[in-house]
Subunit: 321 residues, 2 copies
Amino acid sequence: MSKPAESNATILDVARRAGVSRTTVSRVLNEPDRVSKDTLQRVQDAATALNYSPNSFARSLRSGRTGVIALLVGDISQPFHGSLAQAVVEAAEERGFGVMLYDLGHSTARLEDVLRKLPRQGVDGMIIATADDVSTSSISDAVRECIAQGIAIVTGVEQFEVDGITSVRTDHREGARLAMEALASEGLTRPAILLGDRNGPIGKQLVAGAQGATVHEVGYTFDDAAAAVKILANDHDSLIVATLPMALGAMSALTRAGRSLPVVVCEEVPFAAQVTPAFSTSAVPPDETGREMVRLVDAVINSIPLEPRALHASLTRRESF
Amino acid sequence: MSKPAESNATILDVARRAGVSRTTVSRVLNEPDRVSKDTLQRVQDAATALNYSPNSFARSLRSGRTGVIALLVGDISQPFHGSLAQAVVEAAEERGFGVMLYDLGHSTARLEDVLRKLPRQGVDGMIIATADDVSTSSISDAVRECIAQGIAIVTGVEQFEVDGITSVRTDHREGARLAMEALASEGLTRPAILLGDRNGPIGKQLVAGAQGATVHEVGYTFDDAAAAVKILANDHDSLIVATLPMALGAMSALTRAGRSLPVVVCEEVPFAAQVTPAFSTSAVPPDETGREMVRLVDAVINSIPLEPRALHASLTRRESF
DNA sequence: TTGTAAGCGTTATCAA
DNA sequence: TTGATAACGCTTACAA
């Protein structure tokens, strides 16, 4: 029986055991081609025997790379961001990255803090996934600083007026447009659209896509939407709602008022299908977005030329319309 | 105007500028008391002037500490884990830790992979937050290896039969018991309880707490619960359900069958209050659990003696009962 | 194909 | 109170 091998072996231990220099061991790990077949074998044997694995700090210290990307989300307690994070974590792992999670709690001050801290934290790249409007000048400064430090940045929607940022190409207008068309095709031609912030990066697109709908800017929460519904004019025949929490709020207020209206939500999460009535959605699935974000950030980190992929919204009919 | 100071300054740069040695600069950062007031000031000025911040890899390389904890969750797309993660991230940050996120997708194989990888990844501690039954011997081995590597481990519920693991003291029996009592106090004395796995760490406790209820082991998903409800005997007057997705599934099937039953859910998440009807819950809020987890892992990492705090379930009446 | 040796930026151990 | 100096474990010119 071999010893458990506490795995604190260093590259030097492996080198000694294989009767070679550290350089050779390092080469076996990083450029196996440059090593003779024979020594390759010997080194690999020694490595496994000692249960060796490279110290990531030492490696980072030399290479400047960490193998870590930061994921900044507006609110991880929301299913949308959870689904996104799930896809990001999975895709990142496939590419050999770990993911550090930061929750912004919808606060721009918090975002700025994180941005200021990240360069010191040592991440290769970051994904900023918030639909909030975060275009202040001090945040742009912080973002610029990150880029200057060589951190790759990917956002879910065009956010900052800063060069060197890659954004996912998601056309949210399409989501709204598809919803409008579907409603219209069943004779519902007087929809209202409820959104959190008409000047936010997503809100703008929804407004553009929902030409002809009455726009109500109500805030992002369940309560916001519930309150808004109460003062909604009676001449609407249907509702388009930006997010699932808002849709739940609207639905709840509607039910409570003894009213009922066809609803389409511009956000696709598993929960949408599980509530009663199940919500029809028109959106880009968050896992697609997440995967694309990782693909992009990986490309930027490794300076691989990229062709951002266009992500499309699709309509899923369920019970709410 | 001072120069932008690209922030790539090292400790040596600061030392030179302040006219001291690196040692002194390091002391200013780590043990300010051991430095004369005068030099302290000079060094700090130099540091800010150069926009200096310590390189975290070099620091980790020397100290063996990373300031990072890993959070392993069963399924981050579920609101419960999202809320938990939110609390964990916030509490961790308060204590100076960053959080790396790992999603297990309810897979034990995946858990083992992660456990095997983490010691090389360089984390000071880890929080394992899954309600799945993961007690296999190879997983216990992997856990032991982590502990041997000096990684602090905290779990949400007693999981592994391994020494050196700290668990949050949450009494899930209490959640179930409270639900039973509340139902009984309104004359509902023949409840069924729906849970995913009666041998899982949580399932066991729920069963123990719901003495007198008929136990149905149905699986963890929406569909599982929906299917189970269809074959539920007619002589039950109420339902206790382990998770929100399951509760939604049950409710959906009930509605579809034209039936209706009082329901209490043993999981508290914001969504529970937002669906229609809003669910009554009897559980420990996930953010409390998350905060406690971080408190514990921090204590273990810094070998501070700790008194695990008992977390209590509470009943919140809403519309479903 | 392999090895030598110089760092990467910190912190810890001595001395002074 | 301060400072030389040696690690920490790895990568990478440059030599051999």
